[in-house]
């Protein structure tokens, strides 16, 4: 019972830390996915009198990723029956060219206005549609989400810091007597510290394994995946090798830092 209680006292803060870190990590991935979805769906339309190509546009706007011509044949074909072939030919020749361009990253409102300005400078370009109003709506929502994420990251960092300090105090309290007695009996530094390091390494392995199993189940369960899909969120899958090892690494790092901090303090006392 005593043994269990001792290990739980170390594992509990590690659980909290792992849950916070993994939640932060998943949330970041969800927002990144959302950003990339917005970027995929968003394009600028250019109306030009002269043919344009990617290199020409890239000279003006570096973030241009893809340029596609919008064919107007469908519209012209609809008019085929109502006007003569000659008029159709004149119409075809007098109509401008339409281009849809995609950017490699989402610009903010100011950058978008600059992009429009730069594109309009190209000779032959008659108009540029950035759909700024609806774009701003999405972009602001994204910024809001990113801000929330930043607050969450700060919150996690504060929690981690508090956990480190708290856990170190607990260790100092719990091991003070043992440290003092071992010092009087001439135990070397490594021997006094070995037990603490061994305990935190074992507990980090156990905690990261348990949290990894929970997240793995949660992100691989059809029930939860469907639920998130319904509300338009694509839940990133927990990767045991990548995410599990990351959690274990963080756990080991935080534990070793806090144990070392506690040991230095214990050794001074």
């Amino acid at each position: 019972m005593k043994f269990l209680k001792y290990h739980i006292s170390i594992m509990l803060p590690l659980f909290l830390l792992f849950f916070a870190v993994e939640s932060f990590y998943m949330l970041r991935q969800i927002i990144d996915n959302y950003e990339s979805n917005i970027n995929n769906d968003y394009s600028i339309v250019i109306v030009s009198k002269v043919p344009l190509d990617k290199s020409m546009l890239k000279q003006k706007v570096d973030s241009v990723d893809e340029v596609k011509i919008i064919t107007i044949n469908k519209v012209i074909n609809r008019l085929k029956d109502n006007i003569s072939a000659n008029d159709l030919k004149i119409l075809k020749e007098s109509l401008p060219l339409f281009y849809s361009i995609k950017l490699n990253k989402l610009p903010n409102s100011k950058q978008l206005m600059n992009i429009k300005k730069e594109l309009l400078k190209i000779s032959g370009v008659k108009s540029v549609s950035t759909f700024q109003k609806s774009y701003n709506k999405f972009y602001n929502f994204l910024i809001f989400n990113k801000m929330l994420l930043l607050f969450f990251a700060i919150f996690v960092a504060v929690i981690v810091l508090l956990l480190i300090v708290k856990q170190s105090e607990v260790w100092i309290f719990e091991h003070k007597q043992r440290f003092e007695i071992m010092s009087i009996l001439g135990a070397p530094f490594w021997m006094k510290s070995a037990m603490l390091y061994r305990v935190v390494i074992v507990d980090s392995i156990l905690s990261s394994a348990i949290v990894s199993a929970i997240f793995y189940y949660f992100t691989h369960s059809d029930k939860y995946l469907r639920y998130f899909m319904e509300i338009g969120i694509s839940l990133p899958k927990f990767n045991i090798l990548k995410d599990g090892v990351l959690l274990f690494g963080i756990g080991i790092f935080v534990s070793i830092v806090s144990v070392t901090f506690a040991i230095i303090k214990l050794n001074k006392e």
Partner: protein
């Protein structure tokens, strides 16, 4: 270890102080030889425990020389201090046993520190627990034992690695008459059979102790031997 011609403890003009210009022991000179059984007495706050602490390097001399088992403790390095402590047995009034370790493991501790294999440690711990008549409680934790039993465990731990010198700080201060006599018998036995030097700080020398001992009194910062 250099025993410096059978002198285990040599102090020359020794001054001990926690704060500068507030000496607790001043200009003390004494020599304790191998196999001596020594009592150090004095009033409360006279510096008995401070002197004992200085002998295992918990307090460093401000002035003078303090040589224990051939190691000068004036400017001792951590490794030398650990080396010295590995050859000492220390017994405290409050036992200083590790509460979440079994008494067997507590007794094993000096042997583990000395680097003996686990089997040797277990066998030696059982021998000593048998000697202090607590082998049947080897798996118990210190707080499950009475004060007298805990002090017997502490003495067993102090004897575990066959130390050159045992330092005991009021070892019977918290014990009843019977438990006290058991502890004195154990210390006397170590001194008589193994030739271990025993230095005990106490406020009162036990009257029924049949042993040749030396007696030092600490008074007004000085240490004087009572003839």
């Amino acid at each position: 270890m250099n025993s410096a011609k059978s002198s285990v403890v040599v102090a020359e003009n020794l001054t001990l102080a926690y704060k500068k210009n507030e000496p607790i022991i001043q200009n003390a000179t004494l020599s304790i030889k191998m196999g001596d059984f020594v009592f150090i007495t004095g009033k409360s706050g006279s510096g008995k425990s401070t002197f004992l602490k200085s002998m295992y390097g918990a307090i460093h001399p401000r002035e003078g020389i303090l040589n224990v088992c051939g190691i000068n403790l004036r400017n001792v390095s951590t490794s030398n201090k650990n080396f010295l402590r590995k050859h000492l047995g220390v017994v405290f009034q409050d036992y200083k046993l590790i509460e979440n370790w079994t008494i067997e493991k507590n007794v094993m501790l000096p042997l583990l520190i000395a680097g003996f294999s686990k089997d040797v440690c277990i066998s030696q711990a059982h021998k000593l627990l048998n000697h202090v008549k607590l082998v049947h409680k080897a798996d118990k934790y210190p707080l499950e034992l009475s004060g007298g039993e805990q002090q017997r465990v502490a003495v067993a731990r102090a004897l575990a690695h066959n130390p050159v010198l045992i330092l005991a700080d009021e070892p019977t201060g918290n014990l009843d008459e019977y438990s006290s006599s058991v502890i004195w018998d154990l210390l006397k036995g170590a001194n008589a059979q193994l030739g271990t030097t025993v230095i005990t700080v106490t406020h009162k020398i036990p009257s029924l102790l049949r042993v040749n001992y030396r007696h030092f009194i600490i008074e007004d910062g000085g240490i004087d031997e009572v003839s």
